[in-house]
Amino acid sequence: MEKVDSLTSKTSANHKPGKGPLALLIATRKGAFILRGGKNRNKWKLSEPIFLGHMVHHIVQDPRDRQTILVACRTGHLGPTVFRSTDFGKTWAEAGTPPAFLKAAEGETGRVLDHVFWLTPGHASEPGVWYAGSSPQGLFRSEDGGANWEGVPGFNDHPMRPAWTGGASDGTPDGPKLHSILIDPRDPNHMYLGMSMGGVFESTDRGADWKPLNKGCAADFIPVPDPEYGHDPHCVRLHPLKPDRLYQQNHCGIYRMERDEGEWVRIGDNMPKDVGDIGFPMVVHPRDPDKAWVFPMDGTTVWPRTSPDGKPAAYVTRNAGKSWKRLDKGLPTKHAWLTVKRQAMAADTHQPLGIYFGTTSGEVWGSTNEGKKWESLARHLPHVYAVEVAEHLK
């Protein structure tokens, strides 16, 4: 791995800008879609719906083989499952053993998986390994490209897990979630995850044990001062070139952590006061550890979770959170009461960087110049849950 030592180091020879066509993998409340862009990230073409009627929480490409895509879904009636394609969406097969909790011993109450919420391809050195996070909070691993899944007992059976995760009603209205499963690119044993509710947790032994990592992060909805856990990270990101730098969009603001310091610093305090630093998604620049984007929402009064004042905008920091700049050119200037969910904002690796987001109102927006100007790429889709970028298409 090429080391990035200083706070402002910018590039790595191992992370050259991407080229060529890419696609956006869009998960919605009523199915998935693939939005293919041309060579110059223009002429976007939307696929027919995939798994129409399914609540698709995440659709993710495997960057190690580029052809595998996993889809986490359920319907309103049918239970949760994972579908996989090994030919970039031409054909699909259901996982033989989808993620599920263990059956409880006689006389005990077991947990029931409501939905798979998050999918993360494993470390580059572990082809075929995937991780999944669920609601209620569970961690699952596949060793065969998503065909079969088992619970990670180091988390699911951890004696502190009930305390960390709280009850079924201690989380987001549609169920508490385990998300933001992050693998250190230097070491497949070093992992992080986020839980709403629960906080950020770290493992250094491939998930065999976990420790809370929430020092410095506010949890002002809990009466306990400086709790060790119980926080509400909405989206946690690790910088691929500087893996000891973490960013977090939390229920209580925007944070950055330098892992050796071990304490979250609230960089959202530098956001404009009339916008605030509440939101769901956060995206980092793959070659610049100092650049990150957020999409603020209204977190006042009863928490409408819509664009502040009906005026949607992304904000970028180019100095690791010391200052933020509004990016709204091309976006609606008023009466746009939309929300961008935690999985619904992503970046490609091109130069200049492309940023994309999907809205609860069924629109997909993109920028091919790091957010300086936005264009509508798709409209009239169902409520968008997630947007991921698929690159290096064969």
Binding site: T75, H77, L78, G79, E94, A95, P98, L102, L113
Partner: protein
Amino acid sequence: MKVYVPSALRSYTGQKDEVEADGATLEEVLRELDGRYPGFRFRIIDEQDSIRPHIKIFVNYELASDLNIVLRGEDEISILLALSGG
């Protein structure tokens, strides 16, 4: 015995709305169907062996509350998705 399959599950049964299955209990019938149509059972029965919310299984005209119901060869099983959603 006959098992009536709702439209949401016919992707598993090759679009058949009615299939034949054997078993002394509802559990055995669903296990047999899952062997023939992998994934079928978990979409309607959770990992604690409970019938999922919004799924109703009738044995003849009786609503089944669990999977231990004893069946006879002439029984008819109907799997229904409760009217809900939006």
